[in-house]
Symmetry: C2
């Protein structure tokens, strides 16, 4: 038995929604178990009727049967359970509950005090529109590919794509530090190519290298990238950690836009009855973690996301969230030039289009880039 | 069209198995798409018959129909696609494919050159047996709980648990840097308590604080922990990143055992048709990432893992893997004293038992710890 404990809290709460699949009459017990699991992870009968029971264990706000085998629960947690830190926020939201069967995290909202502690996206939609002098149009992005070619050829691509008017030229997320194109040589060459193209055309394109590095080399690779003149960074938070991305977003000595990539994050959204809802993972959590742009596989490509799932991600990228700046949904994944009109109609102008391999189908890379830019304008 | 490219590779390959759910006659096309997705992510028809096609794109080793709607595929990738780095290895194994429907990663093996580059577990079973002077018996571990109580009370628990003979006393994974028990004060108090208990009893218990910190504070918290005398570290690689854990495991200036916790990693294993197989996630990948002990929810507790899934994790913890040391499977999640005999019978002696809240049910924490130790000996 744990002796009675007084707990001082602010009263500010994180609100979380979970969908539970299974008999609705079992939902109250399952939700109560989640409230314990995500906080004290301790037999609740060994806790006195005290501050821990009242303030630390999650609180059931509501449970509603929304189908014969589906319940929607709202739970709140004292903001103090997170210590004001993103890693522990993720842990409170879904750490152990990710291991429970048939529970899906479907919504999160955090108090503004926690949002201020996290920081959020530095640029967001307004900041990027100013950076690219693009007050209204969708933004354009593409990737340098494929793995296997040498830095000078990737740099040639970067030059042509920037000269053709692509705003953001990122590394393919598969480019790390392979012998075919080592990180430093590649990044210097590509950053230089984009700079030369901008000088030649008066453009504002940026190069965004991928920082998917071993833990101890993350800082060194970011520094190499910024010193070389990279205008932004591509981050894979599913591999290097959400707080790694957040840290880069908030640091004044970084100060460039961050593009979040969904690699290794697909399993969170693949189950209809478990995991994390698409909009929470690729919208809300990406904003908590400071992404200015969030890449996800567009519907109708080679991946599995539906129109509704993509629309929900776009909505969670744009809507008011704890004072965070709205960010650009960045649908990609086998997108083609022929779909530009449809994609813009679907998402509206506050979207960044990501077209990769298809730009290589045209007469030349520059002419494809120019056609991409023209189609948008 | 990408111009023909020569690619120099060693010939060493990473071998990967995927299970594909769906019509078996579609499997060859789907596997070919995975081979492209995980490497060049580029329209294969725009690649010449060259080094990229021959060496960079994944190679189909075999495809077998194992059911009316299930195919088993083996694929290999040139080791150079990873650049010898764990983050990019994870990306090659399952980065974008995590976003495909009905593809499950079921096996991985890496050449010894890559294993040497990763480093692997520092202690493993033999090292921990020597550390605890426990040549044959299962190891004992428990967690300091619950969130909400003050550092001195957590330290009192730590003292009693160490005096009672528990080998590894870890922070509950929910303890981060909350106002109830700030990281530094808690860690100093608990490490000191375990040291005092060891001095009193001649025991060898260690305290393993949880390092679930913001990116920029990870190193500082590790340093605080080691300076305070922590004898090991609890790491949540699903949140702070697999390579963060690996880095701690291989660094000579750390030099303490690492316990890997599965928080936020449950969604990878919850789908029968997607994600990552239990043994790969909690066995193989945890060893690649340097864990000496891998915590997972035991069958028959409050989580969803089956006996077969738990047995597969234990097997992947023990069997020869690329020269890595075998590690301790550490089943937990609502384990009780009454199940000790059954658990040891199931896993054998090369297991670390993790019993948390149930130790608080007895007459005193020390007597429960002593009973736990006696039951094992």
């Amino acid at each position: 038995m744990i002796e009675p404990t007084e707990v001082a809290v602010s009263g500010e709460r994180i609100r979380v929604a979970y969908d539970l699949t299974g008999p609705v009459d079992e939902a109250p017990e399952r939700v109560a178990a989640i409230c314990v699991e995500q906080t004290i992870e301790f037999p609740a009968d060994l806790i006195a009727d005290d501050g821990i029971r009242g303030e630390i264990i999650g609180r059931i706000e509501s449970i509603e049967a929304v189908g014969p085998e589906l319940s929607h629960a709202e739970v709140s947690y004292a903001v103090e359970t997170t210590g004001g830190e993103l890693p522990q926020l993720l842990n409170v939201l879904f750490g152990n509950t990710s291991l429970l069967r048939d529970v899906k995290l479907t919504d999160v909202s955090i108090p503004e005090s926690l949002a201020r502690a996290l920081g959020g996206p530095r640029f967001g939609i307004d900041g990027l529109r100013e950076m690219f002098d693009a007050p209204e149009r969708p933004l354009l992005s593409t990737a340098l590919k494929p793995m296997g070619i040498a830095p000078d050829r990737l740099a040639d691509q970067a030059f042509e794509l920037a000269a053709g008017g692509i705003d953001m030229i990122k590394d393919d997320h598969s480019l790390a530090n392979q012998p075919f194109a080592g990180f430093e040589e590649r990044v210097r060459a590509c950053a230089d190519a984009v700079r030369r193209a901008n000088e030649a055309t008066g453009g504002r394109s940026i190069y965004m290298p991928s920082i998917n590095a071993p833990h101890r080399l993350l800082e060194e690779r970011v520094r190499i990238a910024l010193d070389a003149g990279a205008g932004g960074l591509l981050i894979l938070p599913g591999i290097t950690g959400f707080d790694h991305m957040r840290d880069l977003a908030v640091r004044d000595d970084i100060g460039v836009p961050i593009m979040g990539h969904p690699a290794f994050l697909g399993s969170f959204v693949s189950s209809p009855t478990g995991g994390i809802a698409h909009d929470v993972m690729y919208g809300t959590l990406m904003r908590y973690a400071g992404a200015d742009l969030t890449i996800f596989p567009n519907y109708g490509g080679r991946f599995s996301f539906s129109e509704a799932e993509c629309a929900s991600i776009a909505d969670a990228s744009h809507r008011p969230v704890a004072g965070f700046r709205p960010i650009f949904p960045t649908p990609g994944g086998g997108m083609t030039m022929s779909r530009i009109g449809e994609i813009v109609e679907f998402y509206g102008n506050d979207v960044a289009l990501l077209i990769g391999g298809d730009l290589h189908r045209g007469r030349s890379l520059r002419s494809s880039a120019e056609a991409f830019r023209s189609a948008i304008e």
